[in-house]
């Protein structure tokens, strides 16, 4: 069973990687960088031309001696990683339905979780390209690594991908039910973009926004990543790793159960390929 699932993961990941690079879309690739470039540019202008480097003292306390622009660059690299991974995983069932392969996919005896894991592996691998590209762009805007903690960095990436996988499963369940392509994915991206602390420390947000951010695994992922690259001493990695892990498990379990239930329901009502 485990061997079979691993084969499903490997073959699904391979198919998806081949498809991405064989039919590579430059416009789609470039489009993913528009938000990060705009945010980096805007942050640079705000920091240098509008406020002349006059940051709130609390900002220094929250993130240590690291610079504002490094803080923003990491947030944006993280956003690109999430965007690339979440959009691919979250839309799997929509595209299966559109391309007419959804019934065949669900007729196979493979584990659905293994199939989705394979897609997640491919999406995470591809999104690493975008992720690296934003860091390179960030160098032009003033990004500097203060202190690199490789194990913590890897841990933040892997656990974030795990949390994203859970969110992707839930998104697919919603997509299958409501036959929606963009509304769910766009709303989720906005949720991540606003409340995960991409452009300001979560502690700076109003209390109601902090409550929302606590329920999102990506909040902890981004904090760990910043700690691993900027050496922020105020962050307790154990707490963030545990929170990220627990939330990841909850989201994956919820996603797996919801997806299985919806599959059962769609099968019963013969609604798989109905638009």
């Amino acid at each position: 069973m485990v061997g079979h699932s691993l084969r499903v993961i490997a073959s699904t990941a391979k198919v998806n990687l081949v498809m991405t690079w064989r039919f590579f879309s430059w416009t789609g690739f470039a489009l993913r960088f528009f938000t990060p470039i705009m945010t980096l540019g805007a942050a640079w202008i705000l920091y240098n031309r509008v406020y002349a480097g006059n940051l709130a003292p609390e900002f220094g306390i929250a993130i240590g001696s690291s610079g504002y622009l490094s803080f923003i660059t990491i947030g944006n690299a993280f956003y690109v990683f999430v965007f690339a991974a979440a959009f691919v995983v979250g839309r799997v069932m929509f595209w299966e339905r559109t391309t007419g392969t959804i019934e065949a996919t669900f007729m196979t005896p493979m584990s659905r979780l293994a199939y989705m894991s394979g897609i997640m592996v491919a999406a995470a691998t591809n999104s690493l390209v975008d992720f690296t590209a934003v860091f390179l762009l960030g160098l032009a805007f003033g990004f500097r690594i203060a202190l690199f903690n490789a194990p913590l960095f890897l841990c933040s990436l892997l656990l974030t991908a795990f949390g994203l996988f859970g969110i992707g499963l839930i998104t697919n369940a919603v997509t299958l039910t409501f036959r929606d392509r963009t509304t769910t994915a766009n709303s989720l991206m906005i949720l991540f973009m606003v409340f995960c602390g991409l452009v300001c420390p979560v502690e700076f947000m109003p209390s109601w926004a902090q409550l929302i951010s606590k329920a999102l695994p990506l909040t902890y992922g981004i904090r760990l990543m910043r700690a691993s690259l900027l050496g922020i001493g105020t962050v307790d990695p154990t707490y963030d790793i545990l929170a990220l892990l627990i939330l990841g498990v909850i989201y994956v379990a919820l996603g797996a159960v919801t997806l299985a239930q919806i599959e059962k329901n769609l099968r019963k009502k013969a609604l798989f390929s109905v638009f």
Partner: protein, 271 residues
């Protein structure tokens, strides 16, 4: 005939989209989310206000008001871009050829779509502004109500006219929606939505002045938050009026050209 086409198209669009996920996302989720995102971008800084310089006068504007007005007008602009996607929607439904065979005026079709999008968005816009004023205590300073109304009306007209020009891409090419998506962030950046225009690097300013949103933001922010009078915002208002006329003429020429080309090449319904 022209008015009937406008009304019919507007009613059709309202019925299709008013209670749809598209309206919910584009008119509520995205503006709210983007507005908060931009507001949060300012939080690490010590000062919680923005200085807007115009005509040698500096207006100190509340940060929440600055980002909210910026986001609301920008969202209105994207709704107008969506109006520009009406021909693409007709193509998806398989009705584009039939529509362009009809004697309906193309500009009337676009105006109807723009009107519907404006209605879809306006009620939400009013609700958002009122809730922000009530709950977040955005400090509004209006000294010339007529100047504010003129700023809003001219911003709307100029953006509709530009949206109609961009519609040409929807007829001519099958990449209209990608083109619309490409435009969003550059427009956001260049228009001065995120930061005051005086901080924009000089080499980018000429591009900023090509956008009606730039002048719309200037006029609405100054009249709604800075207490500017008609006389003080005369320059952006004249620019908006000129843009409206130029873009309307250009839209007429471009739509006719795109339609002729697409018909000659028989590419109207090709995907």
């Amino acid at each position: 005939m022209f008015t009937r086409v406008v009304i019919a198209e507007a009613l059709k669009s309202l019925k299709v989209y008013f209670f749809s996920g598209r309206t919910l996302v584009w008119a509520l989720v995205l503006p709210l989310g983007n507005g908060l995102y931009l507001y949060f971008l300012y939080l690490p800084f010590a000062t919680k206000s923005v200085n807007l310089q115009f005509n040698a006068t500096t207006y100190t504007i509340d940060l929440v008001g600055f980002t909210i007005i910026g986001q609301l007008l920008y969202s209105f602009f994207t709704m107008m871009l969506l109006a520009g996607a009406s021909f693409e929607a007709e193509r998806w439904q398989g009705t584009l050829e039939a529509l362009l065979l009809s004697p309906a005026n193309r500009i009337a079709i676009l105006l109807g779509e723009a009107l519907a999008n404006a209605v879809n968005y306006t009620w939400m816009l009013i609700a958002l502004v009122l809730s922000w004023v009530a709950f977040i205590r955005v400090s509004i300073l209006v000294t010339d109500l007529f100047a504010l109304f003129t700023s809003l009306a001219l911003s709307y007209l100029a953006m509709v006219a530009l949206g109609m020009c961009l519609e040409t891409v929807g007829i001519y090419s099958r990449r209209g929606s990608i083109f619309t998506a490409w435009l969003q962030e550059p427009v956001m950046f260049l228009s001065g939505q995120i930061f005051p225009l005086q901080s924009m690097p000089g080499f980018l300013l000429p591009f900023s002045y090509l956008l009606p949103l730039t002048f719309g933001l200037m006029a609405v922010r100054l009249t709604l938050l800075g207490g500017a009078s008609m006389h003080e915002v005369a320059v952006p208002l004249v620019a908006l009026a000129i843009m409206t006329i130029v873009f309307l003429i250009l839209a007429r020429v471009l739509v006719n050209y795109a339609e002729r080309r697409a018909k000659a090449k028989a590419t109207l319904t090709q995907f």
